[in-house]
């Protein structure tokens, strides 16, 4: 179906819905690379005019990736909740934007709406939203999840402690974990990206973290971010697996590039739940995503990278994950060229994930071939803090010495909590207070007796 916008005597024609959505997207290098970006600044706004007039119902009929070709599309269509959709079913995309911003729309309405929103609707409305809209609406949404800590509560910001080491050295990883704990980080998860992708390494690292957690009685969970098939093997071996991790994308073909499909994710989800380590909440999955992954594996179906990213959240949704984060600046400048594009993408991803009901975190990050630096990360971190992001990464000194990119640091977490008055997850906050790491103002104390005691308690193990 053709979409048209008439602006002051000029007719802009868009061949189909995916072309229209791509053209309406704020400029980014990945859409340019795919040949999908608007041809001019005016055409981009014309596409937004056409998109604003589009009834939301159209997204249930005009599918950007064909139903017959793609199991992600089938999941989106087959699991759409018509009753939840009812409050917005009469709206256009432009009307939906105003509904989201309305003072009458709050946490309760947004939570009830989530199962009625498809990722394409979320992506479409985000394309009409300025950065402040993405922040203002995301801030209204509460998406909690829980394991040994409760994540996503208002007024809280959690941190994934990311203690990677280039050779998976146990002492090196333990040193980074301690450094992070002593700065009040690690309440979302202690999550290690292994340098060597094998089951034995993952077993050693999981046992290391589980042992540390039990010895110090830390309320948190652990994860080694290895392929889902490795984690299934670890579960069979009886290794203490809290969370199953997997990178996911927004099309069946892109997920195949990651070596997964929905059936495999279901198998892993069931196996992890079966361990009974999180019996109350049942949130046992950790997913990572990022704009551009589908194009990089040639599996984008001519759809813009931001819409496909929102579809990745639809993949995550049925598994009720504890954690979902977009690794927003990791992919490189051919997809997100500079700090401006990374900032926009981070806000879009956080908004779309939250609108779909997911407990979203963001890896605020960049590589050295992107035109970005630590100041850009400060800006995005601050914006996401205001937007109510559930968690961010904590990497020693912001320098991941294994993955060779820059993320946010333990210090950054202290900063954002302090300037916005945010606290760690409640269970973790209580632990920090118990071991003497919090001062009267709720700040993590600087080097002193508590740090010394914890370091000594662990000896040189």
């Amino acid at each position: 179906m053709v979409y048209v916008a008439d602006l002051a005597g000029t007719r802009h024609v868009f061949a189909d819905l995916k072309t229209l959505m791509a053209a309406a997207t704020p400029f980014r290098s990945g859409d340019q690379l795919a040949g999908l970006a608007a041809a001019s600044a005016e055409q981009r706004v014309a596409a937004r005019y056409a998109l604003a007039d589009l009834p939301l119902k159209r997204f249930l009929e005009d599918l950007v990736v064909p139903y017959a070709e793609d199991e992600v599309t089938r999941l989106i269509v087959d699991s759409h909740d018509t009753a939840a959709f009812a409050p917005i079913s009469h709206l256009t995309v432009g009307g939906f934007r105003e509904w989201l911003l309305s003072n009458e729309t709050g946490a309760v309405q947004l939570s009830a709406l989530a199962p009625g929103v498809t990722p394409e609707m979320a992506a479409a409305v985000s394309k009409l939203m300025r950065n402040q809209d993405l922040i203002a609406v995301a801030r209204k949404i509460t998406a909690t999840s829980a394991f040994r800590t409760t994540l996503g509560l208002p007024g809280r910001l959690a941190v994934r402690l990311q203690p990677n080491h280039p050779t998976d050295d146990r002492r090196g990883i333990a040193a980074s974990i301690l450094d992070g704990l002593l700065m009040g980080c690690g309440d979302a998860v202690i999550g290690i990206n292994p340098a060597t992708d094998n089951v034995e390494t993952a077993r050693i690292l999981l046992e290391l973290v589980d042992d540390l957690r039990l010895r110090l009685e830390i309320p948190t969970q652990s994860c080694v971010l290895t392929h889902v098939t490795n984690t299934l093997e670890l579960i069979r071996l009886g290794v203490p697996v809290d969370l199953t991790f997997q990178s996911i994308a927004g099309t069946e073909a892109a997920n195949r590039g990651f070596g997964v499909d929905l059936a495999l994710l279901r198998e892993a989800h069931d196996a992890t739940l079966g361990l009974g380590r999180n019996p109350l909440a049942g949130n046992v999955m950790y997913f990572e995503t990022g704009q551009g992954s589908a194009l990089s594996s040639g599996a984008h179906h001519g759809v813009d990278q931001q819409t496909l990213e929102a579809r990745a959240y639809a993949v995550a949704r049925p598994f009720r994950p504890l954690l979902v984060n977009t690794v927003v600046g990791f992919i490189g400048p051919e997809y997100l060229y500079d700090g401006k594009q990374i900032t926009r993408a981070g806000l879009e991803d956080h908004f779309c994930g939250k609108l779909l009901g997911l407990p979203m975190g963001v890896d605020v990050c960049y590589t050295n071939h992107a035109a970005a630096d630590q100041d850009d990360m400060d800006d995005l971190l601050t914006l996401l803090g205001v937007a109510g992001v559930n968690f961010v990464m904590g990497v020693p000194g912001a320098d991941d010495v294994m993955l060779n990119y820059q993320s946010t640091s333990f210090h950054d977490a202290l900063y954002i909590r302090d300037v916005l008055g945010l606290m760690p997850a409640p269970e973790f906050e209580a632990w920090l207070a118990k071991v003497g790491l919090l001062d009267d103002a709720g700040r993590v104390v600087e080097a002193g007796g508590a740090q010394q005691r914890l370091l000594e308690q662990l000896g040189d193990g």
Binding site: Q32, L33, P163, N164, H165, P166, T167, D169, R171, G172, A174, A175, S176, L178, D179, N193, A195, T196, D197, N198, L225, T226, H227, S247, F258, G259, S296, V327, F330, I331, G332, P333, E334, Y337, T367, N368, H369, D373, Q374, V395, P396, G397, A398, D399, V401, L403, N404, Q406, S409, H411, L414, Y415, R417, D418, R443, E446, A447, Q451, L455, D460
Partner: protein
């Protein structure tokens, strides 16, 4: 400003255990000035490495004489970074390469760190020549604005059975001078990354030395020649760490 641990510093034990930036101290919630500047220096070096251009005269000397200079289809660094495909094709105006019958072609490519190429390519080439004395090696090619796959049309043009592309890797903060070597049997445009073998992390400190790297590359070349292929089916017996799903290629 120095980061010297004092005997009473409880973080000294952590710093000894990892190269990660642990035990940095605090200024309120922020970083003390010294580690903040140390980070900026490392990132500045990495950025400079990405945007550095090859010093061809110095490089020719390091390579021991003449080399053919080619350019990819990327006219400049901005285009190179925005569209990786440009770096995988030769510039349209490239003159035909001298075709022969060679066992091996060596391509020295700037990639994402001309700094790495400048620092280590000469030593790796010399060590490879010493190990492969009986091999016929095509004239050296230096390629600018190049990705790994640019070695395919170059190797094909030279008529080489195998091509090694020595290329600057994406700089991290701990090393802006890391060189990678990608080995491809029967190079021609359209080869997939899974049809190559890689020896990475060739650098001054904390990685492979040029001589160690040349040893691994030569072993892979000899095995590739014996078996008639490169790629995932040809694994290094010394079990190099496999990239995780999280790591995206700089290719």
């Amino acid at each position: 400003m120095a980061d010297a641990p004092t005997p009473s510093d409880p973080f000294a034990i952590l710093r000894r255990a990892t190269a990660a930036r642990v035990g940095l101290g605090r200024a309120g919630q922020g970083l003390p000035t010294a580690p903040m500047l140390a980070f900026q220096l490392a990132q500045a070096r990495a950025r400079d490495a990405v945007h550095a251009t090859l010093d061809l005269e110095t490089l020719r000397t390091a390579l021991g004489g003449s080399a053919i200079l080619v350019q990819s289809a990327a006219p400049d660094r901005a285009a190179y970074l925005a569209d990786p495909d440009l770096g995988r094709r030769l510039a349209p105006a490239t003159e035909p390469l001298p075709h022969g019958e060679y066992d091996l072609a060596l391509v020295i490519a700037d990639g994402l760190s001309a700094t790495a190429v400048q620092a280590h390519a000469g030593a790796v080439v010399a060590a490879l020549r010493a190990r492969l004395a009986s091999w016929s090696i095509a004239p050296l090619v230096v390629a600018r604005q190049a990705r790994v796959a640019l070695g395919d049309p170059i190797g094909e043009g030279l008529g080489a059975q195998l091509v090694v592309v020595l290329i600057g890797e994406r700089p991290g903060l701990s090393a802006a001078d890391s060189l990678g070597a990608y080995i491809t049997f029967d190079p021609k445009p359209g080869r997939r990354d899974s049809e190559r073998n890689c020896v990475s992390n060739i650098r001054a400190a904390g990685g492979l030395s040029p001589d160690e790297a040349a040893g691994k590359i030569a072993w892979l070349l000899i095995e590739a020649q014996r078996l008639g292929f490169t790629g995932v089916d040809l694994k290094d017996r010394e079990a190099l760490p496999a990239p995780t799903a999280h790591q995206l290629p700089t290719r």
